[in-house]
Symmetry: C2
Subunit: 263 residues, 2 copies
DNA sequence: CGACTAGTTGAGGCCAGTCAATGTTGGTGG
DNA sequence: CCACCAACATTGACTGGCCTCAACTAGTCG
């Protein structure tokens, strides 16, 4: 009845000693083959725009590549923060969990995205990252990031940019949650996905939703029934085409216009 | 009829050459007396926990102190990003502005808070910062911050912490906007204010709202009438006492319980 | 095949928005 | 000092969008 999000709804023990899925974190697959310089998403990542010498130093930051299977948890709230994670392939969601059991999907992350930024402040992760499909991420130990950032201004700036972009991303989500109607939220969500897929070289007009209706709803501050209804309505109005998780954007302009209606 | 937020609702020209209120930014009051080491809010700021030698270096970052009068704009969207701003006294709000005219109060900031973090990514500010009362802020040129961060690991870590805390702040706001009922949002808002005032040495049970009902509503994703009604209701229920902008928290536990109700 | 999860669709209710009238407060100028 | 005005705030009546509850379908996996 409830989706995976709600499967572990409450009372996340702080600083769990052994995490149920921790084995996933131990599979240190290929220590010697982890090289940003040949990574398919390197220009979306922290090594963006660096000269060869600096990029080589950045290569040395990445110690571990982690394989996750669908449903695996990369980190959970309270887990001590030691590294940022760059997604190499697949996709993950991040879930916020309040003490009272309230939870919300806070983000949908795809290759090139950086995860775990919220943990820097308190040395502890504040949310849970769960793989939506089989995925691979690179662990970037944060002490190494800081050390390298002190030596290379260009890399330092990339780190600051990444942090700032996460802030910007959340800002637009706040605007969405605070000011938009349900149909506008959904349209904005679809357009955002489209744009991000495009930036990664995938089709911007047809893609597969990796999240359930309930997860999408949680992300947008809506209920799953509302998401389902609105997808149907948008289809009926000819703006999109939906078949389960396959979505096709038919009238991008109309979707944009819908989002843009101030009232 | 409309509050200050809506006074400049649309079409913010990007990279304005001369800003209407720019004179406010030129009042370079006391170049030689700007010293973090004697700042009343230094332990809330970037110089938190630094040894004397490092703190001295940080003092050198701050070049300018800016006086703002109520209603003055510190920066607006599109203004080129050059510095972060630390609030010394007074308070400011930050306002998000979308192209379509949609706007939302994104934050309420008090002494010790750092402003402008969202501008790092694109070298351009993404929101507008407006003084809610006469205020003073310190300008911290970002290139100097980056330079100093490269030399002092402890300071570098403070910068990262500040960025990460901004992310955490927004996260909890997202949770509020995505999952809470109107009365819960308002209660959470009041408790947040209370806690932050306390952290700054003010009374945690009685304080003055610096924002109008409309601004509070915008911040919480509600209409001003709803805010007004709910303040009245909370007062009637004996949880708070309101008289215009003066608020007194009477039953903190009950407020917390209200926020904590998952449904 | 049965059990389970994910998704769709309908009926009805409630919370918060909208519209509107009125009250209150604070700053300004005569 | 007080009258005036504009901005801010309160309260009521009504409306509508989204949630809740519920029934049903489709696909998946042991």
């Amino acid at each position: 009845m409830e989706a995976a999000v709600a499967a572990t709804p409450i009372a996340i023990p702080l600083r769990t000693t052994i995490m149920p899925r921790a084995r996933a974190m131990l599979r240190d697959v290929s220590r010697n083959q982890v090289l940003c310089s040949i990574c398919p998403v390197r220009d979306k990542c922290l090594s963006f725009g660096l000269d060869a010498a600096t990029a080589k130093k950045v290569d040395e930051i990445v110690t571990t590549r982690i394989r996750l299977r669908k449903g695996d948890t990369l980190y959970r709230p309270g887990a001590s923060f030691t590294a940022l994670y760059a997604i190499r392939s697949g996709s993950l969601k991040t879930v916020l969990l309040a003490e009272d059991g309230r939870d919300q999907v806070a983000g949908y992350h795809m290759p090139g995205d950086l995860l775990g930024l919220d943990g820097i402040g308190n040395e502890v992760h504040e949310c849970q990252a769960i793989a939506l499909e089989d995925s691979e991420v690179c662990a970037l130990p944060f002490d190494r990031i800081e050390r390298t950032a002190r030596d290379f201004a260009a890399f330092q700036h990339n780190v600051h940019k990444a942090l700032s972009q996460e802030i910007a991303r959340q800002r637009s989500l706040m605007l969405l949650l605070g000011t938009m109607r349900a149909d506008q939220r959904l349209a904005a969500f679809l357009l955002d996905l489209s744009q991000r897929y495009q930036a990664r070289g995938y089709s911007s007009s047809e893609f597969i939703l990796r999240m359930t209706r309930e997860e999408i709803g949680s992300y947008l501050g809506l209920k799953l029934e509302t998401v389902s209804r609105l997808l149907s309505r948008l289809q009926q109005e000819g703006l999109i085409q939906v078949q389960g998780r396959v979505v096709k954007l038919l009238e991008r302009a109309a979707l944009k216009q819908l989002v843009g209606q101030s009232n």
